[in-house]
Symmetry: D2
Subunit: 291 residues, 4 copies
Amino acid sequence: MGSVLGANQYGKAEVHMVTVTRDGARHTLRDLLVGIALSGDLTDVHLTGDNAHVVATDTQKNTVYAFAKEAPVGAIEDFGLRLGRHFVSSFEPITRARVHIVEAGWDRLGDHSFRQAGAESRVATVVCDTAGEWVVSGIQDLVVLNSTDSEFEGFIRDRYTTLAETGDRVLATAVAARWRHRSAEGDWDASFAAARGLLLDAFAGTYSRSLQETLHAMADAMLTGRPELAEVRMSLPNRHHYVVDLSPFGLENDNEVFHADDRPYGLIEACVLADDAPPAGPAWDPYPLVS
Amino acid sequence: MGSVLGANQYGKAEVHMVTVTRDGARHTLRDLLVGIALSGDLTDVHLTGDNAHVVATDTQKNTVYAFAKEAPVGAIEDFGLRLGRHFVSSFEPITRARVHIVEAGWDRLGDHSFRQAGAESRVATVVCDTAGEWVVSGIQDLVVLNSTDSEFEGFIRDRYTTLAETGDRVLATAVAARWRHRSAEGDWDASFAAARGLLLDAFAGTYSRSLQETLHAMADAMLTGRPELAEVRMSLPNRHHYVVDLSPFGLENDNEVFHADDRPYGLIEACVLADDAPPAGPAWDPYPLVS
Amino acid sequence: MGSVLGANQYGKAEVHMVTVTRDGARHTLRDLLVGIALSGDLTDVHLTGDNAHVVATDTQKNTVYAFAKEAPVGAIEDFGLRLGRHFVSSFEPITRARVHIVEAGWDRLGDHSFRQAGAESRVATVVCDTAGEWVVSGIQDLVVLNSTDSEFEGFIRDRYTTLAETGDRVLATAVAARWRHRSAEGDWDASFAAARGLLLDAFAGTYSRSLQETLHAMADAMLTGRPELAEVRMSLPNRHHYVVDLSPFGLENDNEVFHADDRPYGLIEACVLADDAPPAGPAWDPYPLVS
Amino acid sequence: MGSVLGANQYGKAEVHMVTVTRDGARHTLRDLLVGIALSGDLTDVHLTGDNAHVVATDTQKNTVYAFAKEAPVGAIEDFGLRLGRHFVSSFEPITRARVHIVEAGWDRLGDHSFRQAGAESRVATVVCDTAGEWVVSGIQDLVVLNSTDSEFEGFIRDRYTTLAETGDRVLATAVAARWRHRSAEGDWDASFAAARGLLLDAFAGTYSRSLQETLHAMADAMLTGRPELAEVRMSLPNRHHYVVDLSPFGLENDNEVFHADDRPYGLIEACVLADDAPPAGPAWDPYPLVS
């Protein structure tokens, strides 16, 4: 029996680049974490140690920095496309480039002073290969909570079921969402702002009978409201807030005092697609491969 | 040779309590992480295993939840004082209570919908004992950056020095600040908002010849502007942003493209006191003891 | 335009269960982190909020605990299969169960005393559905380093390349590896121990011209040495150790003093398959869906 | 009202240095995280921005690397003393140096191959100033568990107490311990190995009526067994393992199946001193100042 090399990719991960643009005294700050994964004709590097087809990950890092100087960074989707196209067009053995960018937000304190906005970040994953280009935008670590208008009832009861039904609970999650665009051309900033707004409005405005229903409402609102989107994927941890039993102390607790638990947590995940969504191609291929 | 028991304390740490207050349809959310440390006549529990003087940490946790129901939580300084006074006054062997509270901020999305504001959090440490009460307020994980008006020149050069002087650099830090109040009575929310504003204004407005100078400017502005404060302490990691050398690619880099490095980092720390500051007593005793 | 529900799954994540088995005075400890993801006929819960097909994630958690009492836990692969088969066979709407288990190791200090062994952990992912069963074993956070017998030369040089070739470097990584079994029956503990040993021997024994070559050598050794394996997947961060330039201090540095950098890092990933590997089915479907 | 500068210190933190020593084909690996904090005549740098007394933190970092080449690293206590003495003796304004070192362990896989040993690490903090030298050794992230011989009974019951007494529970903690030496000269490696052994033996061998009693037993054994030690300090999080209630499923749970909870946790802390311990001086001054 022998072994064969299957899918593989390599690149530089977590290049943390901050750029400052000066418009007179008023500066603009960008804060990007860039990861690159290249694939192609890379059998020899695995099997014989011949690196003739290898663009060093150090070179990839240098390219990120140089590209930020050679032209304005722009939306992270555009910056990803510039990088991806470069690697595929410049190196014959490289036939696919995946570029993953996480952008941290900063609020302005003054002309040249900034405060980091929070844990929430905007993400984009771009794939360029000889067969096409794919753009996925998204958001992560967006922590939201509804203090009412959430229930959980009517679920299956078996011998291991002890959970009581509840008509009023806290619903909290840390949104990890990705949305695939139909095209590799777009007004990415406007699209992102609108998609994020639809997501938040649906979270706040949906009466929830389960976190699945809330997930679907958010994804559906995004797809319905933004025709440039083909698919939305979300992973929503259900951050359980347990009503503390205050009865031993002679106190009622009418959904006022909660223990915010860390683990375990529910994890609710789904893909929702436009009914005419084009094929996803390699857009969702895993990065990293093992997680 | 024998051993003797020295300073000791024990308690429940990281009680994560979320409370919801209803004013009709409009809800208010609070998100607190509470830690308690009690000390007193606790020699027997260490030496003989006699727990007769021990308020169980589980009871301490219950007390946090019950107190949040029995009266409005209020400012974290006040909630800490309520808890601290309770433990010292209710249990004869307990002669000192330290209560440490970290509050996470949430922004409003709707009447009952909220988004977690960010990594920055407000903190308070309260100490109650038979000799007095001390209140320390503070802030942590407040990440700020100035993209200019920072230099670093004129430092010592020895045989191990390679750093070039610079007349223009990025200055970034994650502020961990604590400020000790003169009194255990105050309008804590107003004081906190004003102190934080003074800190941020001084960060943004100070031309910096070192992070030490910026630290001092922030602390001095707080002490000068807020007479209720006796002392300010800060730990400021210098989050180095290195100008990337783009010259191998034929590009200039006029403080435009930076590598934001993780480690190592400078760590700048100081106490600044009002010139008539009262003694600190146990206000700054370590919690945890070993870190 | 409308939307359609695509792939979805839900379950309880990170159930942290510790079990103690008593063989007289001598105890055995197990430390498992269990995650469950169920899928099936779950359209209604997403679209109409009807939970009639939902096995509550709280019930899933209870089942983990109860199963650990009802029979010995055994190898994590077997425990995963027991759980997975239960969910698929007990609930008509549930047609697939994915069970992911991470086991932390503990070293024995005494009959009933233990010390946690380290960051490295053993993992298993089991998928049970109406079409079959799949078992993936693995390891994560296994940090290894070779202080020589690693070079990196002959790679592509373009206008953004500054990296020097090196004939002798430190090679360090944190192994994340998964290996798919041909069958859902096996002597899991023996297989794991042997596979891990082959991986480590190949890491230590391979002269490396790139981390890709080392990855392939490890995977090939596992597939060649263990016929029960069909496929190996690895993600290997290249933890760069940079030779510190001591020449400004009049000192040579012959690969003796290194700066261990955090970010960015290379990320080398590949699948290697037995040349007669059966199809993977849903074995590698992502969990979580968005990461 | 004016402000005055109080205690202050600054330095480079978390210099991650790995060294390789070659004894023929057999290599030795060391993995150190070094932090330095200097204090002295530093008022001007805070108040006027004059850096004439500042040893740049970048220079401190360079010094760590150069010192590792100029002479063998040795025990981390000795390496800390070399560094501390250098800063105090070389720079007139610098009157005190604190050096904090964390060493990660690596197990040998082969002549030049290593596996990181685990989360547990050895630490040392050294303070050198004009008045003397102090050495503190320690250990952190040493996670240990006793599956029996632990009870918790006889504690205070008040209106907020719901915890049941228990005659048999799991006792688990992550040991953070520091021990102060009487002298700045010693056989540090032998002392560390012996002190760690005494700590572990006392943990495993003590019947525990509270975590306080276990803490005291460990510290007392170290002080009694190692006359070179003057004081031991420990912070012990009580990692609660809750017996899962299986009675709803018709199952008994005789301390067999536990939920390992994350938060909140008990936190038990104490200093234990030799009855003739010399004064601690600045040995325990906080680093970082605010945490």
